[in-house]
């Protein structure tokens, strides 16, 4: 292609610059997914509890997070977390806290839909067996809700993986930053952006292909 030279990207450059960024991006995605699902499930339970004192704060949190751009949330946490705990923290740690808090809002909407998709009969059956609220949730409802929502949760994880590139705003060292740093040092910025795009594409396309296959398998079992 017009004046592009991709040959300089060799294994040495990848292991020196890109590898650490890739590890951080994956780590951020995994932590934010797990943390987001746990917090998101709690938020969903709060919103479905029917108790005003729980419903209102959870609703404000979820809708608030969902109405601001992620970049602004990243900037907010980078500003506030050090002010609250009284000492500076690194961009990577700040990004991790931000993503768990931010994704919890999105995962809570998914889990809420999942819990609501379970038929009343299941809830009543649990009650009839004498189960407490928490037993009913833990043993009957949440396992089914979670399973129904696995494809949606995974799709959200793919979006989350793409969004990790936005830690650019606070200068954390992620996959994209790995490519751009190498590109700047060797004077090959254009090639670096293209390669980054290819890597993101292959990962996200591959994962969404797997999700689609999983979805059809789950659909057959039912």
């Amino acid at each position: 292609m017009l004046g592009l030279d991709l040959s300089f990207f060799n294994w040495e450059i990848i292991s020196k610059f890109v590898k650490n960024g890739f590890i951080f991006s994956v780590q951020l995605t995994v932590i934010a997914t797990l943390g987001g699902i746990v917090l998101g499930t709690l938020l969903a339970l709060m919103r479905l509890s029917g108790k005003k004192a729980l419903v209102i704060p959870a609703t404000i949190y979820v809708n608030g997070m969902r109405s601001i751009p992620l970049v602004m949330v990243i900037l907010w946490f980078f500003l506030l977390v050090p002010a609250i705990i009284g000492r500076p923290i690194g961009a990577e740690l700040s990004a991790t806290i931000t993503f768990v808090a931010f994704e919890a809002a999105y995962f809570s909407e998914i889990m809420r839909a999942g819990i609501q998709s379970i038929s009343r009969g299941q809830v009543n059956a649990g009650r009839a067996l004498g189960m407490t609220y928490s037993q009913n949730m833990r043993l009957i409802i949440l396992p089914q809700a979670f399973r129904n929502m696995v494809p949606v949760l995974l799709t959200q994880t793919i979006i989350l993986f793409q969004d990790t590139s936005l830690v650019y705003a606070i200068g954390a060292y992620d996959l994209l930053k790995g490519f751009t740093t190498a590109g700047k040092i060797y004077g090959r910025t254009e090639e670096a952006y293209l390669l980054a795009a290819v890597v993101y594409f292959v990962i996200c396309f591959g994962m969404s292909y797997l999700v689609k296959r999983l979805q059809s398998r789950i659909a057959i079992i039912r």
């Binding site: 292609m1 017009l2 004046g3 592009l4 109405s67 601001i68 751009p69 992620l70 970049v71 602004m72 900037l75 907010w76 500003l79 506030l80 793409q162 969004d163 590139s165 936005l166 650019y168 705003a169 994209l176 751009t180 910025t189 254009e190 952006y193 293209l194 980054a196 795009a197 993101y200 594409f201 996200c204 396309f205 969404s208």
Partner: protein
């Protein structure tokens, strides 16, 4: 915490107050989002339609490839490519201002999402609608123009509303190539004044207001487009 909102009336060093700067930045945010919205709707409607055409396998493939390409690369990377790589590969694009490149990046990115909604909307229609168009002697273009798309767009108004709000929020990523929009203002003014909390509150509020306005505008359009007696979207067993 000491609040100080008066600094918004201070000079930013360029002959305007911080308040004026912020309102300018809001204008940039709204312009980027509005123009990108037009690009996204036109391309999204076109590509989404392509994906549903009955006898044009190559257009279906083009539509599918379009969606996969623009959906599986992070927006930030796409903006960098439009801004840094495209002008280098196609020297004609060197004349194009950065603002336009960002509008194209955001528009193309969002068009993939719109195309996905349009496809879902068209495929949710009963096959009889298409046959009805054929029975009236319509060509494929006429069937889509007069029968299928008017119905499909009414059905997908709720997801289009949330995609439009997403587009507005995603316009914040334009800060990365120094477009003077709200997020860029927030970062720069925060550094200059050290009044981060006040600035972020103001910017966050402007984003929330804008997203709410988009939501209301789309709800207004949805209501205006409603056909009396034809219940759409969310109604169980609606449609004919």
């Amino acid at each position: 915490m000491n609040w100080d909102w008066k600094f918004f009336l201070n000079d930013d060093g360029g002959g305007r107050t911080y308040l004026e700067w912020m309102l300018d930045a809001w204008g940039w945010t709204l312009s980027v989002a509005a123009l990108a919205w037009v690009v996204a709707m036109l391309l999204g409607a076109l590509m989404g339609t392509f994906r549903t055409l009955p006898n044009s396998p190559w257009l279906v493939r083009l539509g599918n490839a379009w969606v996969e390409l623009f959906r599986n690369i992070p927006l930030l990377v796409q903006i960098f490519i439009w801004y840094f790589v495209v002008p280098k590969m196609f020297p004609v694009m060197l004349q194009v201002p950065g603002f336009v490149l960002v509008v194209l990046a955001l528009g193309f990115f969002t068009s993939a999402r719109i195309a996905e909604q349009v496809r879902a909307g068209v495929q949710s229609l009963p096959r009889g609608q298409r046959y009805a168009g054929m029975a009236l002697g319509f060509t494929t273009v006429q069937t889509y123009r007069y029968v299928i798309l008017p119905m499909a767009f009414r059905i997908i108004m709720p997801p289009l509303t949330s995609e439009s709000m997403n587009l507005l929020k995603n316009s914040s990523v334009a800060f990365a190539v120094s477009i003077a929009e709200l997020t860029m203002f927030a970062m720069q003014a925060q550094e200059e004044t050290s009044r981060g909390v006040e600035i972020y509150i103001a910017v966050t509020a402007l984003y929330a207001i804008s997203a709410f306005a988009v939501n209301r505008a789309m709800a207004f359009v949805e209501k205006k487009m409603q056909i009396p007696g034809f219940v759409v979207a969310g109604s169980a067993g609606g449609g004919h």
